[in-house]
């Protein structure tokens, strides 16, 4: 056992730190609650239990980090992650400014397809547009559920 090389995994330390921060947040939020229940335990009990558990688990994860408790990992490709998250951020921004559902889906589809190695961006934009249009029509006409509307959607009378 002594010969085993014990390296510390930084990921484990980050996880432990995040759990501790989350516990702190819950604990702080709990102190702002003022009304309590007459009988039994009030709304503060569960936050205390959860925060305590998170602190214990932060310690547990720290132990894992120091004991080779984390799995071996390969180096991930970064570009696909950037593309997918970029697509999602574009969706949030577009819908936030009222650009509409269909355009947002067009961009998300093309960005994700590119993340998975597709290079035919125009074809993918067209498919994304068709898919967005199809789901929008199905939702608004068939199920009468509302999806965020923009100029294009208003043109369709949705």
């Amino acid at each position: 056992m002594q010969s085993q090389d014990r390296r510390v995994d930084p990921a484990g330390i980050v996880v432990a730190a995040l759990l501790a921060v989350l516990a702190g947040l819950i604990f702080y939020d709990m102190t702002t609650l003022t009304i309590t229940q007459t009988y039994g335990v009030g709304p503060k009990a569960m936050p205390i239990v959860v925060a305590t558990g998170l602190i214990l688990l932060a310690i547990g994860n720290l132990v894992l980090a120091f004991r080779d408790g984390f799995p071996e990992r390969e180096q991930p490709a970064h570009l696909p992650i950037v593309l997918i998250l970029g697509g999602l951020i574009a969706v949030i921004a577009l819908i936030g400014i009222g650009g509409g559902f269909i355009l947002a889906m067009t961009i998300l589809f093309a960005a994700t397809a590119a993340a998975f190695g597709r290079r035919a961006i125009l074809v993918d934009l067209a498919i994304g547009f068709a898919l967005g249009l199809g789901t929008y029509l199905m939702f608004s006409k068939l199920l009468s559920l509302s999806l965020p509307a923009g100029p294009l959607e208003r043109l369709l009378g949705g």
Partner: protein, 499 residues
């Protein structure tokens, strides 16, 4: 009520044309998502929650159950033909199934998986019919403290069975519990953890969390590792039909797999991994052809597939009788009940027998439909696997975003989707299980409510938790399940040190 009579009434509900249609849609969708990598039954139910909000509860729940069963059938096709099991329940099937496909016996492998699933699913559904009313009789005497204790058992066993280590599982569970705290406290009207964001007052949407973790997280994970893996689809060569010898070698593993799957699924221990691997190792030990194991033995497909389907049926028992989900899909089904204001449990059996028994009866119908869909039509499903991966994941993300925004049309919801997506990616990368987060979010608030109700009835005396014999036993089980892995590891270490 007499279970047979109740089932008869349920059949009348399940055989209504609309409900048959819902069941058919469910099994079609379920098989499709089971076959497709990157999308599973839990995610599908999550996406459908907002869409089905306005539909008839019985119909939607029948559809969700069809998706659950269908996912189990479809998963085996992928495991056998491309050796990348869509979910951990199909891991054992892939071991022998993919070897059979490589040896040109993909047809019989698919056939034994489908027929075994049908046999197991049907027997296990009969199990539900007789076990559920009995459990309801027991559950009717449960006080809030007993329910709280039961949920503690579920929390611990779910975290322990899903993760590679209990600390990882518990970490996931507590993150879920923390998310469950967000929003207005139903008993005092005060809001917790909303940080001034009005959208958070209603709490974290289950759809947003599930879709973020399952769909966005999975897409990010697969995209980031695409350069590392080569997938190869094995064509189905030769006859689809099983030979007389295949039948002779399959029927016992089917029955044994069912015997492993149903009880383990019905216990609040959850998870299909344990029964499938138990079945695999048992078949390996009992087989007359040990030399074939590792090279494509049909017993190694028949047993685990039966166990896998039987355990899916088993998880419906605690879900329907106690409101206790022990798998991610069961948790999403509970969310489905909740969206109609229905709470599974003894009361639901008394108040809405038509709905509960209609659902149970529809499981028989779903199974029969799935056998037909998966045997003669298996070629159709295999063709789904040829959808180019970029379009598949791009489509999944489009539907994921649509489901989220349909549940709650707000930019805040989309931001949360992205954040949960990154969380799901990191959890996969660092090997934290996903399902306990979802179960924590859904079950956490229910557990809190039961605890506070119990303590309010006892005027704040915490001893009420150990005074009921049921609750005391359950809490002891939960404690044992929590401590056992650590003690066992300690003993193991002690042994290896003395060697």
């Amino acid at each position: 009520m007499d279970p047979i009579a109740a089932l008869g009434q349920g059949l009348v509900v399940a055989l209504q044309p609309m409900n048959l249609l819902y069941a058919l849609i469910g099994v079609l969708l379920g098989t499709a998502v089971g076959v497709l990598p990157g999308i599973g039954p839990a995610l599908t139910v999550a996406l459908l929650l907002p869409v089905t909000f306005k539909l008839d509860p019985a119909g939607s729940l029948i559809m969700f159950a069809g998706i659950y069963y269908g996912g189990m059938y479809g998963g085996s096709t992928t495991a056998i033909l491309i050796n990348t099991p869509g979910e951990s329940a199909s891991l054992a099937t892939a071991l022998e199934g993919n070897k059979m496909a490589k040896a040109g016996r993909g047809g019989p492998a698919l056939a034994t998986a489908a027929i075994g699933s049908f046999v197991a699913g049907t027997i296990a559904t009969v199990g539900i019919v007789f076990l559920a009313p009995w459990l309801v009789e027991v559950a009717i005497k449960f006080g809030p403290e007993d329910y709280f204790a039961l949920m503690c058992v579920a929390f611990i066993t779910v975290s322990a069975t899903f993760g590679s280590s209990p600390i990882r599982g518990l970490t996931s569970l507590f993150v879920g519990l923390a998310l469950g705290l967000v929003g207005i406290d139903k008993l005092t009207g005060q809001s917790r953890l909303h940080f001034g964001v009005p959208e958070l007052l209603d709490g974290v949407e289950i759809t947003t969390l599930a879709v973020g973790l399952f769909a966005v997280g999975e897409a990010l994970y697969v995209a980031s590792r695409r350069h590392l893996i080569q997938e190869k689809i094995e064509p189905v060569r030769g006859s689809l039909w099983m030979t007389a010898q295949d039948w002779a070698r399959s029927w016992k593993p089917w029955l044994r797999g069912t015997l492993f799957g149903f009880p383990i699924g019905a216990l609040p221990a959850g998870g299909a991994e344990i029964p499938t691997f138990l079945s695999y190792s048992t078949e390996r030990r009992l087989t007359k052809y040990p030399q074939e194991f590792g090279h494509g033995a049909i017993e190694g497909v028949a047993g685990p597939e039966a166990a896998n389907n039987a355990s899916a049926a088993g998880t419906l028992v605690p879900l329907l009788t106690l409101g206790l989900p022990t798998s991610a899909t069961a948790a999403m089904m509970l969310a489905g009940f909740q969206q109609y204001g229905l709470n599974p449990g003894p009361l639901l059996f008394a108040e809405r027998p038509d709905l509960v028994w209609g659902l149970i009866a529809s499981l028989f119908i779903a199974n029969a439909m799935l056998l037909i869909l998966n045997l003669p039509l298996v070629g159709l499903w295999v063709r789904l696997l040829s959808i180019p991966q970029p379009w598949l994941y791009a489509g999944i993300l489009v539907f994921a975003t649509m489901g989220t925004i349909a549940a709650k049309p707000s930019v805040v919801e989309l931001i949360m989707l992205a954040v949960f997506g990154v969380m799901g990616y990191l959890m996969r990368r660092y090997d934290y299980p996903i399902a306990p987060v979802v179960i924590g979010l859904i079950l956490g608030p229910v557990a809190e409510q039961q605890l506070r109700r119990a303590l309010a009835i006892s005027l704040g005396d915490p001893l009420v938790l150990v005074q009921s014999p049921m609750s005391a036993t359950l809490l002891a089980i939960a404690f044992a399940a929590l401590v056992a892995p650590f003690v066992m590891r300690g003993l193991g270490k002690f042994k290896s040190d003395t060697d």
